[in-house]
Structures are given as structure tokens and as C-alpha cells.
Amino acid sequence: MERLPILKIGQMLLVSIQVDLRDDMVVALQEDLAERIVETGARGVVIDITALDIVDSFTGRMLATIAALSRVLDAETVVVGMRPAVAITLVELGLSLDGIKTALDVERGIRLLSPAGGAAR
């Protein structure tokens, strides 16, 4: 099965989703990320969904689970690049993703996770 690549940048892990998400890929990502966080001792995870044209309740739940999971492993998760149409749809669907940090793009996401940048917001 195709797996989503996880890149390590400094103390952070970056997942940039560039393909149409299948549910089994989503489940695999959850497992892979938990493993990589422990393995690398990463302090933050940036998930870039700029290329995703929809986020349904399954994917939304995955994002929430990853955030909760990484928090237990002492890492923060930021979801970046959500498109306006996707955000409006998620709100209509009833999903507010409480507890997940968000940023406009990867750069701002990384800044949010770095020790100094986290205080700004």
C-alpha cells in the first residue's frame, strides 16, 4: 500500500499530503507518525493539507487523533494550509477540530512550533 512520506526537519516532522487520501492511508499515517515521533524524539508535527480538496469526518477524526496522540508523546501538531472551501464545509459538517493548532502555511506552522514562535499566538 502507498504510504504518506514523513520528512524530518530539525526537531520537527513534516507530512505534506499531495494525493487523494484513501482511508487505509490515513490509518497507516497515524501509526507511522506515532512511531517516528518516538524514534526521532520530535517535538512537533506539521501536517500540510494545502493540496487536499476535501476533508471529511474520517480525515478530520484522523487529524484530531494524531494531535491527541502526539501530545501524549510530548509533541505538538499543527495542521496547515486548509483551503477556505474545506474550512467552510467542515464547519457545516459540524467539525471544529477543537484542540488542533492551525496555521496558514508550512512556514507559519513551523514558526508556531519553534520555542520562540509559540508565544506569539
Binding site: 476533508v55 469526518s57 464545509t89 459540524g94 467539525l95
Partner: protein, 132 residues
């Protein structure tokens, strides 16, 4: 565009249904937000067909009402059916893995929503989204 019949028997089929619905929504000139709402609803419903209905199919077609264009998608399965439809449409209700937003959430994202089901008799959900 003629009606397209798509099988739903695996995760990859859910992706294909999303793509077909997107193409139909673009052709019917739905706004970007309406396209996204419809494709998201289709994704929820296709997953329901797969997870709870044990697989089935989807029919996607363009429809018109007067001058308005729209997209109709029908999801059908021969699964166990739903005993209590009202309960299944309630937010937070789930019999499987999910946030329980599938059916009720999908209904909020479309303009027309109809469900036909009986225990042991499968489930058919029809949704329509109109161009504004």
C-alpha cells in the same frame, strides 16, 4: 453527461466516487464551496455504503430543474439496512468508527436528501446539490 454507475467495494472506490462527483459538479457549474460540500457529502455516503452496507454502488448524474443545473448522486447497498433512521441522522450517533457525523453531516451539506431503508433490505441514499 449520462449517468455513471460506480462500484463501491474498497477504499480506492471511495476516492473514485469523489472524483466522479467532483467532475459532475464542475460540469454543472457549482461554486467551489458547493462543489466541496457535495464531494464531502459523497465521501461520507460512499464510506457508509462500504462500511455499513458491505459495499454497493453509486450513480452520479447531472440533473436540471428549469434553468438550474445540479448533480444527483445515489448510493445503494444490499446491507443490513437501518432500523431507526431518525437516530442514524442524529449527530454523534455511530455504529462503527467515525465521529457520527456521516449521515446527518451529509444531509446538512446538500440541498435535497432522501433515504430509503428497511432492516435486512439494504439502504439507498439520494442527494442533490443545485448550482446557485
Amino acid at each position: 453527461m449520462t449517468a455513471q454507475e460506480l462500484p463501491i467495494s474498497g477504499d480506492a472506490d471511495v476516492v473514485r466516487v469523489r472524483q466522479a462527483v467532483r467532475a459532475a459538479a464542475v460540469e454543472a457549474k457549482l461554486s467551489l464551496v458547493d462543489q466541496t460540500k457535495l464531494v464531502t457529502a459523497a465521501s461520507e455516503l460512499a464510506r457508509n455504503t462500504l462500511t455499513y452496507g458491505g459495499g454497493g454502488g453509486a450513480v452520479v448524474e447531472q440533473v436540471t430543474k428549469g434553468l438550474r443545473k445540479g448533480v444527483k448522486a445515489v448510493f445503494h447497498d444490499k446491507g443490513p439496512g437501518i432500523a431507526d433512521v431518525a437516530q442514524a441522522l442524529t449527530d454523534g450517533f455511530t455504529s462503527g468508527s467515525g465521529m457520527g457525523l456521516g449521515l446527518g453531516g451529509a444531509r446538512r451539506l446538500v440541498d435535497e436528501f432522501a433515504i430509503e431503508t428497511a432492516p435486512g433490505d439494504g439502504t439507498t441514499v439520494t442527494v442533490v446539490k443545485w448550482a446557485r
